[in-house]
């Protein structure tokens, strides 16, 4: 748990370094100042590196102070809920076009409701899933003119 606190600062340090090298490798412009597109990202990546190192040091110094949010994030069914929502989102992305909006949305919303709201409340879950899928389909594709698959 303690090391989890350092994930964000380390991630940001890595991001800054990658960003720094990517900025150095940017193609030169044929128009105007050849280094025009490079200055801003380059300066930014250097500043970002400095600040993320400071962030790392700050977090490292208080590594023994408990972070209540991290504790909550890892306790009870919270980690499962977070992972399930992300996984369901990924599945939704793959089903969205092949199955079409209505069916994929019912699966997605139904899955989220059964997992988050619990299967004991199955009746509410089914009613909300079916009615909300239809309402959103009608509202977006018919009223707002969004073309849905």
């Amino acid at each position: 748990m303690k090391t989890l606190k350092l994930i964000m600062p380390i991630g940001l340090i890595i991001f800054s370094v990658v960003f720094l090298f990517a900025s150095l490798n940017l193609p030169k412009a044929n128009l105007g100042n050849p280094y025009g597109p490079i200055y801003f990202p380059l300066g930014l990546s250097i500043l970002m590196l400095i600040f993320s190192v400071i962030f790392f040091i700050q977090e490292f110094k208080k590594i023994n102070e408990p972070n209540n949010d991290i504790r909550l994030m890892l306790s009870g069914r919270t980690p499962k809920l977070i992972l399930f929502t992300i996984a369901a989102g990924l599945v939704y992305a793959f089903l969205f076009e092949p199955l079409g909006f209505l069916y994929s949305t019912m699966i997605f919303l139904g899955a989220l409701l059964f997992f988050i709201n619990g299967s004991k409340k199955w009746l509410v879950n089914i009613i909300v899933t079916v009615s909300f899928s239809f309402i959103s389909w009608y509202a977006f594709s018919q009223l707002l003119g969004v073309s849905l698959p």
């Binding site: 940017l26 200055y39 801003f40 949010d69 879950n125 707002l144 003119g145």
Partner: protein, 506 residues
């Protein structure tokens, strides 16, 4: 003020379709704002897709209605459940919740709605007088001034996240970094697109916004999902007594203008406005000891103030195209999407849009006070709807909204990435507003900087060449010293707990 454009605007605002949007937006905004943990920025972000396909005037009217609807809604959950939707509703818990506990829930809801209404009205009047002169002033701005103004806004919003400035700066820099992805408009160079064609137009900031505000907030709310309290509140008659009105009248009238001015300032929004109003009313009150125990003026003052601030925050957005807060940054993103570019030229080229919005604020505040008093029974019932049902719906809306941006499921992956990123930011207590603000102004900021330097043949002296630019530089430096000043003041006199609380939340 130009009477004929005012009347033109009024005639657009009272078109039945726009009145309908005001009511729909106000109502939807109230509902999302009422959800514990979700505030106006989330409300606007989730409901953005509703505005697609609308004409820009109706869209901005709708979004503004969602915005202040969410402000009204935020105080409902503060008063009834003691769980503020966002920073600007925190002050409403100090005396609103104790009032509800004493059995005065109805009175508290009524006074908060009326105070919000009056605060909103005062701010709209201020808006009318301040917006046009400010737009005319901004017309004289060149690239250097624009760059500095954006820099000031960013540094102000970072500086106001007291105690976490390093994190604030990092959030800002990530936002700026994301804004550099895509084709550089001055030279045509592809930057950081990783050869993915989808990225050549840049990362759509609306995906980031919906990701961090909608998905990120819902994931964050999973942390406490099984601990949310069930409280049945008897609301009773929703109106206040003469005595309560007498006590609240002046605090409301004092807090409105104060909140408005704070709202106009870059970086400071409803949270700061409501907190300052609360503490100043507490200081001048003869009943200081009642504050925190359910003093009606302790609820009325911040409510008037935060609503006034939300109107004030629209001024820099409309007149200069520069958002001063997270929520207005989200609105700017949506407006750009719709092809409406707010800025000083808006009042010259499309006065009817600007004035229609201003008039719609009058109507919207009126509609909201009616919704919040007449429909209070319905709203309390909605508040009883388990969050476990509403969170999946918000997640779904976020996905649909993302899809409507460019009809591509690739964006779903980006949405999930930014959702997780938003969750981690919340968990690590990194402020989100600087990220969103930087992402939206980032491209313009870089381009203005380069244009300014180009126009002066590479000299940085251009940033010190006019009175306005020197003033902006001084303000930026001062804003960055502000946390230091607060620290010194704190050491001298121990700061009250109320103020501490807002800094933690903002």
């Amino acid at each position: 003020m130009d009477i004929s454009s005012f009347l033109d605007g009024l005639s657009i605002a009272v078109q039945p379709i726009n009145i309908l949007w005001i009511i729909v937006g106000g109502f939807l905004g109230t509902i999302v704002g009422m959800l514990p943990g979700l505030g106006p920025a989330t409300a606007v972000a989730v409901l953005i897709p509703v505005t697609f396909g609308m004409n820009p005037v109706s869209a901005i009217i709708l979004m503004a209605a969602i915005y202040y609807g969410a402000m009204y809604g935020g105080s409902r959950s503060s008063i009834l459940l003691n769980t503020p939707g966002d920073g600007s509703a925190i002050a409403a818990t100090f005396d609103g919740y104790p009032m509800a506990k004493k059995g005065q829930a109805g009175e508290a809801l009524a006074i908060s709605a009326v105070a919000s209404f009056i605060g909103g009205l005062i701010a709209v009047v201020g808006f009318i007088f301040l917006a046009e002169p400010l737009a005319n002033f901004a017309l004289k701005f060149g690239p250097a001034e624009y760059f500095l103004l954006m820099l000031l806004t960013l540094s102000a919003i970072v500086a106001l996240s007291i105690g976490k400035m390093v994190k604030g700066f990092l959030a800002m820099m990530v936002g700026l970094a994301l804004s550099t992805v895509g084709i550089d408009t001055q030279t045509g160079v592809y930057r950081f697109t990783m050869d993915i064609p989808h990225l050549s137009e840049g990362i759509d900031f609306l995906i980031v916004i919906i990701g961090v505000y909608a998905i990120g907030e819902v994931l964050y709310n999973f942390l406490n999902i099984d601990k949310q309290k069930k409280e049945k509140k008897k609301v009773g008659k929703v109106w206040f007594t003469k005595e309560q009105w007498k006590r609240s009248k002046w605090p409301i009238l004092r807090s409105g203008p104060l909140g408005f001015i704070i709202g106009v300032l870059p970086g400071a929004g409803g949270s700061i406005a409501s907190m300052i109003s609360y503490t100043s009313e507490k200081q001048i009150s003869k009943r200081t000891e009642e504050f925190g125990e359910g003093a009606v003026e302790g609820l009325a003052a911040p409510e008037s103030s935060n609503n006034a601030a939300s109107v004030g925050a629209m001024i820099p957005l409309l007149t200069m195209g520069i958002p001063g807060s997270g929520t207005t940054a989200v609105m700017l993103g949506a407006l750009i999407m719709l092809g409406l570019r707010p800025g000083p030229l808006l009042f010259e080229q499309q006065p009817e849009t600007a004035w229609a919005l201003i008039n719609s604020m009058f109507i919207g505040n009126l509609a909201l006070v009616i919704i919040n008093i007449a429909l209070v029974g319905l709203l309390v019932k909605i508040l009883d709807t388990p969050a476990k049902v509403l969170y999946p719906i918000i997640v779904l809306l976020a996905f649909i909204g993302t899809y409507t941006l460019s009809y591509s499921v690739i964006d779903f992956f980006l949405l999930l990435i930014f959702g997780l990123f938003g969750l981690m930011m919340k968990v690590m207590d990194i402020p989100i507003a600087p990220l969103v603000l930087a992402l939206i102004v980032g491209t313009d900021m870089e381009q203005n900087f380069r244009m300014a330097v180009l126009s002066s043949n590479g000299s940085l002296g251009v940033f010190f060449s006019s009175g306005v630019s020197i003033g902006l530089v001084i303000l930026t430096v001062l804003s960055l010293c502000y946390p230091l000043i607060v620290k010194l003041a704190k050491r001298k006199k121990n700061m009250s707990e109320d103020e501490d609380q807002v800094y933690k939340s903002s």
